[in-house]
Symmetry: C3
Amino acid sequence: MWMQKQLHLSAKPRGFHLITDEILQQLPDLNKFRLGLAHIFLQHTSASLSINENADVRRDLESYFSRAVPENQTYFRHILEGADDMPAHIKSVLLGCSLTIPICDGKLALGIWQGIYLCEHRNQAGMRSILITINGD
Amino acid sequence: MWMQKQLHLSAKPRGFHLITDEILQQLPDLNKFRLGLAHIFLQHTSASLSINENADVRRDLESYFSRAVPENQTYFRHILEGADDMPAHIKSVLLGCSLTIPICDGKLALGIWQGIYLCEHRNQAGMRSILITINGD
Amino acid sequence: MWMQKQLHLSAKPRGFHLITDEILQQLPDLNKFRLGLAHIFLQHTSASLSINENADVRRDLESYFSRAVPENQTYFRHILEGADDMPAHIKSVLLGCSLTIPICDGKLALGIWQGIYLCEHRNQAGMRSILITINGD
């Protein structure tokens, strides 16, 4: 059994945002799958999807990645779209734009501490499009 | 045809560990799949799964990532669980917690030099839970 | 419906290369899938697959990653295969060797700006093998 659904996430400020609930609210039919896989695909190149602690590490993640991928490097050539743009593409390559999560008994089989992040790397981003594809029994 | 199985990996010291054999030993039914995909999902936020050289690069990987994500940064706020904790979450976001590997003729179709790693980022970790989901013909 | 196909990508110089067209040319049957998932797996440990801007950020990506993972670190032990070898393995772990991309109406459902990259981390690499596995309706 296959299901595919396009979602639009509301615009978010730069940083790491928990979106587990925002995604689950738009997947009411998830409970029809006894087991399977949910694929979540972000159709952008300056934001990322990730899984991590659903508690208080999000500010430190933003602090770390903003230092690890600093703005205004003299060797950057792609600079016309703002100081945050090229670092946003680099972070997107580092963290990735898709997740695959197992489904067990009609639910995403995340670990106790795991949540789904939208990592917004632009200072002034708009809505973000996500395509979810589910396959299972 | 679907198969889903929960595994528990024995506790391991901090570092990069080859677990290809430990996983295959617990998948005796893999040979029933002519082709398909195996999804391996680590249900934790302070360790990672990765694929790389099944030979002698593992110590250098640990050396690199411990330098690239140093402990005791003054800007870290999430520090109550030890100096290795916040870097462990960052490394988990960088490397990821899931792998999808093709199956061909009843075997994981890894390249000659590829092996599956558990990347343990905590100094004193316990067992780690993995959920494997296989779909194929 | 399942489909699996082995591809061989021509040898490429070190850097980030758009291979979307090179892959699509070898998947003429993609249009038989109304919806599904395409899994692209690179069977190597010193190159990566990634998705990002299909325009002009590729040189900056190479510049960034060559600085973030510098050659000739005194703590490297795996040095016999050349100064670019251990950094290549690290970059492969950072960026990953597989992609899963949704299929919608017989096409890869990439965002407007998204393209598929082969990230070649070796100075003198040969052909690279990719195994593509497609499942869908």
